[in-house]
């Protein structure tokens, strides 16, 4: 059944970069991916059936987790393939246009914005870093640090000092954890071109397992990616009770010129 088609946008790239490698690539509706060019910019797009991708059906589909997952992965696969060809700016998931003319108008109207965004991401890659806190280990680390400052003499006195430090640490562990996460973020930013903290995606589940202290993402110069990875490892060793997890490489989703205030 062939109905009306809309145009799904994946990414915007420079029309100078070869996009011939994209042939054979299929998108969110299994459609062949193509480019729409205007001046020195090219949008990577696909034609998708409106019966699935118009506002109403799209909204329904997005409530379906399996559909959302499949679509997100296909969108990301195309965006990632474009990024392998050269610098590109990803579009947010589910951006659908009426036709190619509308896409050309977008490229013309926002030429400067896309140009600036492409300049920002050129030669850089996005990496995510999440910090998970282990409440027990973190409390012990805080107490350890506090007790070390106590010049207690006798063992009994030392024991009491340790005990006091442990009790105090339990009260301040939230604040200490937040403080450490902020320090980790600042250190990572020093090794990146840009960085931002995002709202934790995972809920701060009570208990030790998924206590997420930092959901950061960083735009890193490609020649500094090893240095950045080494910094993550160093920080992980430096902060007992905090486990760091690096994800990536990602297309520059978080640095595409979208202003997002940390919530």
């Amino acid at each position: 059944m062939t109905g009306d088609l809309g145009v799904w946008l994946y990414a915007v790239t420079s029309s100078r970069d070869g996009t011939e490698q994209l042939s054979g690539l299929t998108g969110v509706a299994g459609e062949p991916v193509r480019t729409v060019a205007a001046g020195d910019l090219a949008a990577v797009v696909g034609s998708v059936p409106l019966e699935d991708f118009e506002e109403q059906p799209l909204a329904r589909h997005l409530e379906d987790l399996d559909w959302l997952e499949t679509t997100a992965r296909k969108h990301d696969a195309v965006v990632s393939a474009v990024v392998r060809q050269g610098p590109a700016i990803p579009l947010r998931l589910a951006t659908v246009f009426r036709d190619s003319h509308a896409v050309r108008r977008l490229l013309e109207e926002r030429r400067d914005d896309f140009g600036a965004a492409l300049t920002l991401v050129t030669g850089r890659t996005e990496w995510g870093v999440k910090a998970y806190g282990d409440r027990t280990a973190l409390t012990a680390a805080v107490a350890e640090a506090a007790a070390a400052g106590d010049a207690a003499v006798g063992t009994g006195t030392a024991y009491l000092a340790r005990r006091r430090a442990q009790l105090a640490a339990r009260d301040t562990v939230e604040r200490d954890a937040a403080d450490r996460a902020e320090r980790i973020h600042s250190r990572l930013v020093q090794h990146a071109a840009a960085g931002r903290r995002q709202a934790p995606t995972d809920p701060a589940v009570s208990g030790r397992r998924d206590w997420i202290l930092l959901n950061g993402t960083y735009l890193v110069d490609d020649e500094r990616s090893d240095e950045f990875a080494a910094t993550v490892t160093t920080l992980g060793a430096e902060f007992p009770g905090i486990r760091l997890e690096r994800t990536g490489p990602w297309p520059p989703y978080s640095f595409a010129g979208v202003e997002r205030e940390p919530r």
Binding site: G6, L9, L50, E54, E55, A59, L62, E63, D64, L65, L68, E69, A72, R73, D76, V83, R84, G86, P90, L91, R92, L93, A94, T95, V96, F97, R98, L106, F114, A117, G123, T125, W127, G128, Y132, Q198, T201, D202, P203, R209, D210, N215, T217, D222, S225, A229, V232, T233, R243, L244, E245, R246, T247, G248, P249, W250, Y253, S254, A256, V258
Partner: protein, 75 residues
């Protein structure tokens, strides 16, 4: 709840959270009348919350340090 064999699936779900975090909250947002439709992120929050709660009971994901591939070299 999480026994042997669930680990790969758990890893996948965790990675999905990171992906959704980016494709739904990142990327360029186009506003104006030239577009036909755009996902209202608020609409998607419900699905994402359902997903998150389904993975929140996971065991700790394996540490991914040093295991990530190098970015492609465009030079």
């Amino acid at each position: 709840m999480t026994g042997p064999g669930t680990e790969v699936d758990d890893q996948r779900r965790v990675a999905l959270v990171d992906l959704l975090d980016r494709v739904l909250a990142g990327g360029v947002v186009i506003s104006g009348d030239i577009k036909l439709a755009i996902a209202d992120v608020d609409l998607v929050q419900i699905s994402v919350r359902a997903l998150i709660s389904s993975i929140s009971a996971l065991s700790t994901p394996a540490v991914a340090l040093g295991g990530a591939p190098k970015p492609p070299d465009d030079g």
